[in-house]
């Protein structure tokens, strides 16, 4: 917490947790090569993985009790020409509940596709569907990659950085005339 809790006992309680995370880090770096991890806070772990390893790493964490997929997100890094997929895992169990794992992987921006993770986490389905719709990433093996939110088809999926919504509004909505003006 960034909020002020001076006597929360930062010493003992969190230290113990850090140790546990250390064990986890060791395990994962042993199991998967090319995994880069950073700890942003005592109980938040960021893992940068290669895209081929993602499913295995998700399985790996699921086996170790991180059974709650909070969120799948996507970031458009337009300058480096990559999409970054983010899987945020946490646990339903009480002792691990405070911890998060942010698993990140990068895929090329051109013709983007990735494997679906529905077989591991069932609730990934709408998240992947949303990312497909808003970023245009294809998830192979997903049962229904149809429209979720949108009514229209956009040339560029709207959440990509090169889609400028203000310009779009000017081009599209503003040009529709008022009925009074038409007469």
């Amino acid at each position: 917490m960034a909020t002020s809790l001076p006597d929360r006992g930062k010493g003992k309680y969190i230290e113990g947790k850090v140790k546990k995370m250390d064990k986890l880090i060791k395990e994962i770096t042993l199991a998967f090569k090319g995994v880069k991890e950073t700890t942003i806070e005592a109980d938040k772990l960021i893992i940068n993985a290669k895209k081929d390893d993602v499913l295995d790493i998700l399985n790996f964490f699921k086996e170790r009790g991180y059974d709650h997929l909070s969120l799948i997100s996507c970031v458009d890094w337009i300058e480096s020409g990559q999409f970054e997929l983010i899987y945020i895992l946490s646990s339903y169990s009480e002792q691990n509940g405070k911890k998060h794992i942010i698993l990140k992987t990068k895929i090329p921006r051109k013709n983007p596709k990735f494997k679906t993770v529905i077989q591991i986490f069932e609730n990934a389905e709408p998240y992947e569907r949303e990312i497909h719709e808003l970023f245009g990433i294809n998830f192979e093996g997903h049962p229904r990659l149809t429209h979720l939110f949108l009514e229209r088809n956009y040339k560029i999926p709207p959440f990509r950085k090169d889609f400028n919504t203000r310009e779009y509004v000017k081009e599209f909505f503003e040009k529709i005339p008022f009925v009074e003006d038409k007469k």
Binding site: E151, P158, V169
Partner: protein, 187 residues
């Protein structure tokens, strides 16, 4: 409130009937709907004004467009509006239908509701308070009295243009035109 005007009842019973029984379509179009439950329940009690929510548009004659309208909702709104029997009135509730409001730069909400369906009155605010709904209703009464709430007639007369605007948003609409378009043009 002009309760005393019994004369009016004899003069224009239809207007009086429309005025004092404004039935609202039960359709949560946007976030403004959050103030409708308080209005229709005991604290504010809209029934004192003859306003009650009804299940289907076929029974309703007032359409409260509560808040922002996304493209997908607009389609539903148009269909609902066209199902309502005449005379029918629409009130834009909150900033968003007037000029885009918070979502003035959103790619998925429309900025001016009156480009697509006629609107008889507007309520400012984000959120407007429950009182504002009552005031809007009383305003609508006077407008009906004076014959100013003619949105539905406007829709009928300019249906071609409204339909054009709607089709610019959605492409070809899947339902047939409510009014024959060609004939209107000739008269």
């Amino acid at each position: 409130m002009d309760r005393t005007s019994i004369k009016k009842w004899f003069k224009a019973p239809d207007k009086m009937g429309q005025k004092y029984s404004l039935w609202v379509v039960y359709f949560c179009t946007g976030c403004g709907i959050i103030e409708v439950p308080p209005v229709i329940t005991s604290r504010w009690d809209a029934e004192r004004f003859g306003v009650i929510p009804v299940a289907t548009p076929r029974q309703a004659n007032l359409f409260l467009i509560t808040g922002y309208v996304s493209l997908k909702t607009l389609k539903a709104i148009i269909r609902t509006y066209e199902q309502m029997p005449e005379p029918k009135y629409t009130v834009g509730f909150g900033s968003c239908p007037i000029n885009g409001g918070m979502y003035w730069d959103s790619y998925n909400t429309i900025k001016h509701l009156d480009k697509y369906i006629p609107v008889d009155g507007w309520i400012a605010g984000c959120m407007p308070r429950p009182e504002a709904i009552f005031i809007a209703v009383t305003h609508l009464w006077t407008m009906i009295d004076k014959g100013m709430a003619k949105g539905y007639i406007k829709y009928r007369e300019n249906y071609k243009y409204y339909r054009q605007n709607q089709e610019r948003l959605f492409g070809k609409l899947e339902w047939p035109p409510l009014y024959p378009i060609e004939e209107r043009e000739n008269t």
